[in-house]
Symmetry: C2
Subunit: 332 residues, 2 copies
């Protein structure tokens, strides 16, 4: 218990090593993770969030990493004490076998290495209990406890993870490039509905203006009276073009979402989801422990393994078994 207290103390002081260790414990579903999370969340007055979370999503190769890096540079300005601090969560489409996601960290850290107001962490999009949004949310909470004011969350690849980002972010930025495919693909993938801000990056390339216009037209088609009208920005992240404007637009969305109550609603939904998921996870963890030690359960598992029982009938047997339920229930 001593060690955890020291860790939490370091975390809320903004100590980088304590933050790194806390994140590792949470990613590993370590038993102490819940203590750390409770403390980290209670540091904030608003039930677990005091930073502002911006999600970046879009197809691979659209330059999200560069955009996030450049935006970080803009936010940090002269790196003076009064500038907001930044935490970056890079969600990598990791190989199911090798894990991946480590090399990138090191390469990217270099740009902000000398700036103690920036903390970068990669995480695999796969394999963690409860999936990416669940873990990203917790990592964000830890970063915020460690005094990071902006949390930038960047996902890679079109698919589940892309849409999940809206479960984590206060503002969702969808990043596209001219060659990323047509607008129909974008709409099909559900990106139209989750975007708070569209960015056409690599705007010096052929087709950028046209893509921006296409998106605007599509947005007009689905537009309903709302607290916010989704803008389409043009950026060249590598040349820092349009990135200051992106920052301002994020702030504008923040203000609009706050005034309309949309921000409070999103955060409320998120807190509720974390509450329920945490309970589910803990109950599942107990079941896994029971599965390893209970003889009857192990026997059933063997029957399923060998194809003697089908998985659904076997599951039903477990749930009807009073003794197993009792053991499960009485686990610490």
């Amino acid at each position: 218990m001593r060690d955890i207290e020291t860790l939490i103390e370091g975390l809320v002081k903004g100590d980088k090593l304590a933050l790194a260790q806390s994140i590792s414990l949470v990613e590993k579903d370590h038993a102490d993770a819940w203590d750390i999370l409770s403390h980290a969340a209670s540091v904030s007055g608003s039930g677990g969030q005091r930073g502002y979370r911006v999600g970046f999503t879009g197809p691979p190769g659209s330059g999200k990493s560069t955009l996030v890096d450049t935006l970080t540079t803009v936010i940090r300005g002269d790196q003076g004490r009064s500038n907001p601090t930044v935490g970056i969560i890079a969600v990598d489409p990791s190989s199911p076998f090798t894990g991946g996601a480590l090399l990138g960290d090191r390469i990217r850290m270099e740009g902000h290495y000398s700036d103690s107001g920036v903390y970068i962490r990669s995480m695999a999009s796969r394999g963690s209990h409860g999936g990416m949004p669940n873990v990203a949310q917790r990592v964000a909470t830890l970063m915020e406890a460690a005094k990071k004011e902006y949390i930038l969350i960047e996902t890679v690849g079109v698919g589940q993870t892309e849409l999940d980002v809206m479960e984590v972010a206060d503002t969702v930025v969808v990043v596209l490039v001219p060659e990323a495919g047509d607008t129909v693909q974008t709409m099909k993938a559900g990106l139209m509905e989750i975007a708070d801000i569209f960015v056409v990056n690599k705007a010096d390339r052929v087709g950028a203006e046209k893509l921006a216009k296409d998106i605007e037209q599509s947005l007009n088609l689905i537009y309903e009276e709302s607290y916010w009208r989704v803008p389409v920005l043009l950026t060249e992240a590598t040349a820092q073009v349009g990135v200051q404007e992106l920052r301002t637009t994020i702030e504008n969305h923040r203000a609009a979402a706050e005034e309309s109550g949309e921000l409070q609603q999103r955060r409320r939904r998120r807190r509720r989801a974390q509450f329920v998921k945490t309970i589910e996870e803990k109950i599942s963890a107990r079941f896994y422990a029971l599965l390893a030690e209970d003889e009857v359960l192990r026997g059933l598992l063997r029957r399923v393994d060998d194809g003697v029982s089908d998985p659904y009938s076997a599951a039903n047997e477990v749930l009807k078994d009073q003794r197993i339920r009792q053991r499960w229930l009485s686990m610490p």
Copy 2:
């Protein structure tokens, strides 16, 4: 109970309407779904799988749908009684708001409309309890109970869903096109490790041969002595070129996986996952029911909603509460 019995009877006879209704019940997590699944799984002697499941994955626009359709035509041949029957599960990257995935069904059905040996069903990649692989697996089990011998599962988009396909399939086919990006992207996305067969589709286009060679070289780099050497095929699905060869290669992989014991292992892992996930889901469902009716729990939820309690401390309170635990596990 009468109705469910009739439904199951129809299902195992191969009745299309009964199959469609059963799938809908499973997708909706209907209370009767488990009865149907138990029956469907027990119809098969091998603990829940009697068909052969082939997964198709790769970036959007690689022509997977056309390839799956053409392969179906090849498998069905003259549609004679002795040809294998086919079930197709098309996983769509559905919009989180509109659901999507319906129009596609109708358009695609037309090609096989007159053939009662083919059944096509789309499902959303998102929103279902336990995620795509979980639901796809169950839908596959239902299709197999309805006497479909080949189950072709097709996913869209690079990301989580793409990799998940290996949790469902006996053979994984990764489909690429010359313009789909370079080999590095493919390796980064983890597709190299999950492929049992690579297909370079739209092989009439510039760069197809080069892409095939690049993949072969990458495969050589990571190749280890194994039961199977991953082949790279060239196809033009729209012109039916190379599709017969793909079918033969799938059969070859099947034979090799069966002989080496790899197939039995994959299926064993899958059964085990279904057993554990089914228990987790049912326990979660009970918790949601309790959350709606228990006054103490509702009070806690309100505190979380309002940001008065942080989600992690509140979750901990629930798990320590003997009365709630008792109620939870004593629910039917």
